[in-house]
């Protein structure tokens, strides 16, 4: 028994995932996408909401908590396990993510079958959330290593998958719920089990295919840029994850991501009721509008992140946050004037939201180098968790306040849209303040200092 187990463990080992010469790097994006399309199901969780409310005979809030636990665990596990992901390598990380994410569905199925809501919190929320965090950062850092010539395209490809996952999971779940039973409530358990199996297989294929490039590997015909050839913000050095969180640049980017996500959620949370209150469209049309927003979100992840390879990371965030501010302002002031204008504004804002998510790993790579970019990205994702909790709280509190003040129609949203304008301005200023990381944080400099201290200690020791 011992030998096969050792064999299985060594198959997951980091050094077993180093690609041989001639390995086709275009195998890595689909491997990464298999993981991100699977964990992107989280955005389709709302399809289960109504059947779960009915199954547990409870209100919306206890069911909404499942999603909140998942998102909080995503940020926390990405932050806590980021260093392990870099050390253990992408295969072990993706394998672990697959086990966590799929067992989240299996445990939740057990919870629904036995009417134990806490098991759903534990399964989909806690354990599934850990799978989300590990599964989110691992493919991203691997792709950055394979595409040093196009890091924006690489991260955009993977993170596009996270946005696209809901586009598959939403209609798929809808069909499963109607296929397994005449009442969707009775179909929750088999639907959870089916999704768990599908995602386990898909993510395991990704884990099997994924490879890391050899230390000295570089794309054919590409040479790493010298210090003179890189943009002012780009570094050819590396900063460790522990050092990165001591730099102002990390916290400025944390603020940028927090503001970008909060503003995006501000729109996503209200999208369906907003278009109905603004233009009196039907519920079906409002659902179509939400689908369009998802497409814009996904397209922005690939499109804007790839564009950042040409115009630079800092300028593209100026666009996301600066142009986003103006668009939010126009939406708040004149949004109800024309449906066409409303659609253009909201779709572009959501594409910026997606772009902001997808470009941040490449921005981190520019500032902190490639060595521990996964671990640093993991820690930065706590901004997402914070925004995921703060955004809906702010939006729903303002909506309740406006309703109790007797406001109706477009007036219900004006205040929250103006608040989002302010949030984006804060993000814009934070991005404006980003400067190159001080060289004292670079890994080689830190190692030199440690060696110096050690040798001084040894000298002092020999003198005494």
């Amino acid at each position: 028994m011992g030998v096969p187990r050792e064999g299985a463990i060594s198959f997951l080992a980091r050094d077993r995932t180093i690609a041989g010469p001639g390995f086709n790097r275009w195998l890595i994006p689909p491997a990464a996408l298999l993981v991100h399309l699977s964990i992107g199901e989280i955005y389709a969780f709302s399809v289960f909401k109504t059947p779960l409310v009915e199954r547990f005979g409870t209100g919306l809030t206890p069911i909404a908590i499942i999603f909140s636990i998942s998102i909080v665990m995503l940020g926390l596990s990405a932050a806590v396990f980021g260093t392990w992901v870099e050390r253990a390598g992408p295969r072990a990380a993706m394998f672990t993510a697959a086990l966590c994410w799929s067992s989240g569905f299996f445990i939740s199925a057990l919870g629904v079958a036995t009417s134990q809501l806490w098991l759903v919190y534990l399964g989909y929320g806690l354990i599934g959330g850990i799978g989300l965090g590990i599964g989110y950062i691992s493919p991203v850092s691997t792709l950055i290593k394979w595409f040093p010539d196009r890091p924006g395209l690489a991260t955009g490809l993977a993170i596009m998958g996270f946005g696209g996952g809901a586009l598959i999971a939403s209609p798929l779940t809808d069909r499963l719920l109607t296929a397994y039973a005449s009442n969707p409530v009775d179909a929750i358990v088999p639907s959870f089990l089916t999704l768990g199996v599908i995602y386990l297989i898909a993510m395991m294929i990704g884990a099997f295919v994924v490879r890391l490039p050899a230390e000295d590997w570089q794309p054919e015909g590409w040479t790493p840029p010298t210090e003179e050839e890189t943009s002012a913000l780009e570094t050819t050095a590396n900063v460790s994850a522990d050092s990165a969180i001591r730099t102002p640049q990390f916290w400025l980017l944390w603020t940028v991501l927090f503001c970008n996500v909060t503003a995006g959620i501000g729109l996503l949370e209200q999208a369906a009721p907003m278009i109905q209150d603004f233009f009196a469209v039907t519920a079906a049309a409002a659902a179509g509008f939400v689908g369009l927003l998802s497409l814009a979100n996904m397209a922005g992840r690939l499109g804007w992140s790839s564009t950042s390879d040409y115009i630079g990371r800092k300028p593209i965030y100026m666009v996301y946050l600066g142009v986003g501010t103006v668009m939010y302002f126009v939406l708040a002031s004149f949004g109800s004037a024309s449906l066409a204008m409303f659609l253009v504004l909201t779709l572009v804002i959501l594409s910026f939201y997606g772009g902001g998510f997808a470009t941040i790993p490449a921005y981190l790579k520019d500032l902190f180098g490639v060595a521990q970019v996964g671990a640093i990205h993991g820690r930065l994702l706590t901004a997402w968790s914070a925004a995921g909790v703060a955004g809906p709280l702010i939006i729903n509190a303002i909506a309740d306040y406006q309703t109790s003040a007797g406001r109706t129609g477009a007036d219900l949203y004006t205040l929250s849209l103006y608040i989002m304008v302010g949030v984006l301005v804060i993000g814009f200023v934070a991005n404006l303040l980003v400067r190159p990381v001080d060289s004292r944080f670079h890994m080689d400099r830190e190692e030199d200092r440690e060696k110096e201290t050690a040798s001084q200690g040894a000298t002092a020791g020999s003198e005494t």
Partner: protein, 43 residues
Amino acid sequence: MSESESRGGQSGVVVAVVLWALVLLPLLWGIYQTLTGVVALFA
């Protein structure tokens, strides 16, 4: 390029095509499903 290297390269391309199909086909199905829902917005 030797014959074995050429065969290896060809099988690599086949695996890449299969993997991309595994990813893109469900994604395109999802996009199609979403777009059919969008039709109601303009109906």
